[in-house]
């Protein structure tokens, strides 16, 4: 009986049409990426006037980005480094703090745990943008405007990350932890050698979303960072395009640089990502 149900919908004409349709839609969804990559490889005058896959292919747009950086005061390579530095620091910090505090919230009984949990939930409801202006005041008072710290410190811990990890860690049987404790495992060992490997998917989700969110963050660095030398790529690219918008080729090359790390990361970790997604949706 069960087998039949599973097989029947696959063999109908309808399901074939749906499959083909879905493939077409998937291509449509990928089109902006494809267009971006192709445009970044063509000389600007040809971009609007040649078919997608025709025209001269060249690396000159990328060359332009890296060479004329000094001349137009747009150090793309440096900003790429800045983006990686900021994003990796934040991601590592969020993953580690979320793992430890998440473990505490899930598996350690301490006074006030329920209240902390309530606070985390409340904090997740308040949209971050409300605090943008007063956070700017704080950063000004700390004397951190135009520093990396302005973009790193306020997001080094994440209530969401703690919440996600705690939810996942709760599902890990206590027996494992007890066994580890009997082996005199330290807290660090329990978290790193037991909880994290057992909940790889959720750790990956927290890491990926933190990475993407930080890499993609635009409004905050736009507010606190006016120094091109410490600017993340997102802001540098935006300002470059505001000033040289008609130069479509280099702008698209810059967009590829900005989008590529995220896409690569996504493709590499796609398995964990899909697993984690279905976990987080439960």
């Amino acid at each position: 009986m069960i087998d039949l149900k599973k097989i029947i919908p696959q063999k109908t004409v309808g399901s074939w049409i749906i499959t083909i349709l879905m493939y077409l839609l998937a291509i449509t969804w990928l089109y902006p990426y494809i267009w971006m990559v192709m445009a970044s490889l063509k000389p600007t005058p040809e971009i609007y006037h040649t078919d997608l896959f025709s025209g001269t292919l060249t690396m000159e747009n990328y060359q332009f980005l890296f060479d004329s950086a000094e001349k137009i005061n747009r150090p793309f390579l440096k900003s790429l480094f800045n983006s990686f530095f900021i994003t990796l620091t934040v991601t590592v910090s969020v993953v580690i703090t979320s793992a430890f505090i998440g473990y505490a919230m899930a598996k350690i009984d301490f006074r006030g745990r329920a209240q902390v949990n309530d606070f985390i939930l409340f904090q997740m409801v308040v949209p971050a943008m409300v605090l943008m202006i007063p956070l700017f005041v704080l950063i000004k008072q700390l004397g951190l405007i135009n520093t990396y710290s302005a973009m790193i410190l306020p997001v080094m811990m994440s209530g969401w990350g703690i919440f996600m990890m705690a939810q996942a860690f709760k599902g890990t049987p206590n027996d494992y932890i007890d066994a580890a404790k009997l082996d005199r495992a330290s807290l660090r060992q329990i978290v790193f050698n037991l909880m994290v490997p057992l909940n790889k998917a959720i750790v990956a989700i927290v890491a990926l979303f933190t990475f993407t969110g930080t890499w993609d963050n635009f409004m905050w660095p736009l507010i606190v960072m006016s120094d091109v030398e410490k600017m993340p790529l997102s802001v540098l690219l935006a300002t470059f395009s505001k000033q040289y918008g008609t130069d479509v080729g280099p702008v698209m090359a810059g967009s590829v640089l900005q989008a590529l790390p995220l896409v690569l990361l996504f493709i590499i970790f796609r398995k964990y990502f899909l697993q984690g997604m279905s976990l987080s949706l439960k």
Partner: protein, 296 residues
């Protein structure tokens, strides 16, 4: 001996737990509670970056009240939702159903849609700005095949639709997966029962399927409303809030009020209003739509 040992470990552990929680709370005292305090202070004072805030009572309130641009931006949120919610719901439902019924390549298709979600706002905004431009590939295609073009970004009536299409592109994969997780959880028996009743497809959709994924639908709607109130990068990059302020969203107004008009206190008050309104909208939506579906 053994019991005593465990006891010691537990005391120690609960201290560690508390210490971890305290580190988190300390962090939030600095980067959350303190700004929160400042938010309240700013909203009733006049502060202009270099001076000490001076109490100004309701002055900010009246300034915001009589700021037509701010209220237009709130109206624009509603216009955005008017386009975005139907389009993104239809697309994500279609995506979820499609995903449920395809034979091969489920993972490839899910990933193709999700890769849009894992994308950089600045990058894809630039791409769509070019794709939607009056001489861009989309209009070239339309002109070649149908002999007309559409002023995607230059007409005040079209620009918001274009922005919502861009945001739809980004979120369909994610919302679709949420709905999909609801769809696969519906027990087959319920469909079988409907089949026995000879229910029409559309009736089945509205009477059986949608109510069964009510929780996921509400979740998607909450996300959609949050996006509508918090959108910044797309209008900032693609339209700059124009034409005719038709895509001028609250965050753009807040940003400009603080850093171009140099009125951060007013901007802080605007942020409070936006947060309260978005909270109320979500609350009302949940009240209206949320049902507790009981599996019979």
């Amino acid at each position: 001996m053994k019991i005593g040992n465990i006891n010691i470990v537990e005391i120690k552990e609960s201290q560690i737990g508390a210490a971890l929680a305290i580190s988190f709370l300390l962090f939030n005292v600095i980067f959350w509670a303190y700004p929160f305090l400042w938010l309240v202070i700013l909203s009733v004072t006049e502060w202009r970056f270099f001076d000490v805030p001076t109490f100004s009572g309701l002055k900010n309130f009246f300034a915001v009240l009589y700021d037509p641009e701010f209220w237009r931006s709130l109206w624009n949120v509603i216009r955005f939702l008017g386009y975005y919610v139907p389009i993104v719901l239809a697309c994500s439902l279609g995506f979820a159903f499609g995903l449920q019924h395809i034979g091969r390549g489920k993972v490839f298709i899910a990933l193709s849609f999700l890769v849009a979600h894992i994308s950089s706002g600045v990058a894809y905004s630039l791409v769509f700005e070019k794709i939607f431009s009056s001489t861009g590939p989309l209009n070239t295609f339309l002109a070649d095949w149908f002999g007309f073009t559409i002023p995607w970004l230059s007409s005040p009536n079209m620009a918001m639709l274009s922005i919502s299409l861009v945001v739809t592109w980004k979120f369909v994969g994610y919302y679709g997966l949420i709905l999909y997780s609801g769809l696969v959880a519906i027990p087959q028996e319920i469909y079988d029962a409907a089949k026995l009743d000879n229910t029409k497809l559309l009736t089945k959709l509205f009477k059986v399927t949608l109510p069964m994924i009510n929780a996921q639908l509400v979740m998607v709607l909450v996300f959609a409303i949050t996006v509508a109130f918090g959108i910044f990068t797309e209008p900032y990059m693609i339209t700059g809030g124009g034409p005719m302020e038709s895509t001028n969203m609250p965050l753009l107004v807040i940003y400009e009020t603080a850093f171009n008009r140099l009125q951060p206190s007013r901007a802080a008050l605007m942020a409070i209003i936006i947060a309260v309104v978005s909270y109320l909208v979500i609350k009302i939506m949940r009240k209206l739509l949320e049902k507790n579906v009981e599996l019979v």
